[in-house]
């Protein structure tokens, strides 16, 4: 089994008629926490949307779990990934428990009681056992994101994508979400790809990171956060990381 779970080779990212990032190449190894980082509008969420199969790449090759996104591989690939969106994207008419049970209901043959037990187990893993019966509107932003992580993990995906997990959270909630990512990586062995520009989070959870720059329309650095901060010769990368030196 290859040690790389995601491979990008000379990928152009963006939308038809609007290339945002050019010639992006990197790989994500199994079991690592990999960060996509950069300033606002640099294309980090765009590249994540390519990775999770929402938008097709404009050029190059993108392989997830050894497969390229296509109409034939789409369903299989969707079961290998779990995604937590920036807002949580929980379904408002369903309780947290029902949200987590949804993928189990649709894609497993588990009986209702077994689905419920599995969903409760997942909610307990993210520290939300007490909020199982609550609607998303009745819980805090941090709790919504935790519930979304539980839902993302429902089908035991190989890769979990987190889009801006710290956005809109206070530093304590954000830090506890980082702890959760590390705990899940440790206990479940999943690969995490995280889109963020929060330096404290990056230094706490990341094994490696790829940094993108809006002005140069491409990837400008790849490595561990400490390598990027200490050894990068790129002025933009140094400036970005020095901003967070006090956090490091």
């Amino acid at each position: 089994m290859s040690s790389s779970i995601i491979e990008l080779e000379h990928v152009d990212a963006g939308y038809p008629g609007a290339v945002i990032l050019r010639d992006v190449s990197f790989e994500v190894k199994r079991g690592e926490v990999f960060i996509l980082l950069g300033g606002s509008g640099c294309g980090k969420s765009t590249i994540m949307k390519h990775m999770i199969g929402l938008n097709p790449i404009l050029a190059g090759t993108l392989r997830v779990a050894g497969m390229e996104w296509s109409a034939k591989t789409r369903d299989a690939l969707f079961h290998k990934i779990g995604v937590m969106y920036q807002s949580g994207a929980l379904f408002g008419s369903m309780t947290c428990l029902e949200n987590v049970m949804l993928p189990l209901e649709e894609f497993t043959r588990l009986k209702r009681a077994a689905r419920r037990d599995r969903a409760m187990e997942l909610l307990a893993d993210v520290g939300l056992a007490d909020a199982a019966g609550k609607l998303p509107s009745e819980i805090s932003g941090g709790m919504r994101k935790r519930a979304a992580i539980a839902r993302a993990m429902a089908l035991d995906p190989e890769i979990v994508f987190l889009d801006e997990p710290s956005a809109g959270l206070d530093p304590i909630s954000s830090s506890s979400l980082d702890d959760l990512v590390l705990k899940l990586r440790e206990t479940k062995g999943m690969t995490f790809v995280v889109v963020t520009h929060e330096l404290p989070s990056i230094f706490k959870i990341a094994d490696r990171a790829a940094m993108f720059d809006k002005a140069r329309h491409g990837m400008i650095a790849l490595g561990s956060p400490s390598e990027l901060r200490e050894k990068s010769e790129d002025a933009f990368v140094r400036k970005f990381f020095n901003r967070g030196e006090s956090h490091g």
Partner: protein, 263 residues
């Protein structure tokens, strides 16, 4: 050059929007056919909830409008027929007009304003909140999950609403005619004489067809919502306008076909 550019841009936008609508219609049709093969995939609970909101919650407004429609039609037509001393035939006019045409038409317009816009706003808000993306990446097609239950609910709600609107319209007419010294039993006798099973079921089937149009247009508008600040509002407006235009065009076509086939 600028007017030409604007014209070209409009043409491209129209072509793109037509392509999107056709793709949506194709996807919905494929999904509906798929559900005939795998009925277990239908989200019955979501459809029941949407049906309750589209039908029972809309009964007061639909019945009220139907009642007023009957009242106004009776007053206006009685004024003309009275000159010939045949105001009793207002009942015939009302029954045929409501059952064949006005009942389903007015009910569908109310459904477009109330339910079509709600469908667009609900789905639009979900799109802005990335819930549609979440469904997609869970491997659940949003059309199956969100569109099918709502379209089925709109189709099922229309006959219920249409029947209530038509009955309320007839009651309104009966009240007006009783004020003009036409006995109520005579009014209902005339209504029964002209109301064939075909006339009544024709209106109900037509209503269900309009319901499908309202549901489809509302859901399509929701699915096309942009993340701009006014995205959801625009989607709701587009659902109402598009729904009413679709109903009017479909009704015109049906009227022409009925004329051709002598129905």
């Amino acid at each position: 050059m600028k007017p030409l550019e604007a014209l070209g841009r409009r043409a491209c936008e129209f072509a793109e929007s037509t392509r999107e609508n056709l793709a949506f219609l194709g996807e919905t049709t494929a999904c509906a056919l798929g559900m005939l093969v795998h009925p277990g995939r239908f989200r019955l609970r979501d459809a029941a909830l949407a049906f309750e909101r589209a039908s029972f919650d809309a009964l007061p407004v639909t019945t009220g409008i139907g009642f007023l429609l009957g009242l106004i039609l009776a007053f206006e037509s009685a004024a003309a027929l009275r000159m010939f001393g045949v105001e009793v035939y207002v009942s015939d006019l009302l029954a045929i007009g409501l059952f064949r045409e006005l009942g389903p038409l007015v009910t569908a317009i109310v459904l477009a304003g109330r339910t079509g816009s709600a469908f667009a706003a609900e789905i639009g808000a979900m799109k802005v909140d990335e819930e549609l993306d979440a469904l997609t990446t869970m491997g659940l097609p949003p059309v199956r999950f969100l569109v099918m239950p709502r379209v089925v609910a709109a189709v099922a709600a229309m006959p219920v609403l249409t029947i209530f609107a038509e009955l309320a319209g007839l009651i309104g007419g009966a009240i007006v005619l009783s004020m003009m010294d036409v006995p109520t039993p005579v009014f209902w006798r005339h209504v029964a004489d002209v109301s064939t099973v075909f006339t009544i079921s024709f209106g109900i089937v037509k209503g269900a067809f309009f319901g499908a149009l309202v549901g489809l247009v509302g859901c399509a508008a929701g699915m096309r919502t942009t993340t701009a600040a006014d995205g959801v509002g625009r989607a709701a407006t587009s659902a109402v306008v598009g729904g009413i235009v679709a109903i009017a065009v479909a009704d015109g076509l049906l009227a022409y076909l009925c004329y051709l086939w002598n129905i």
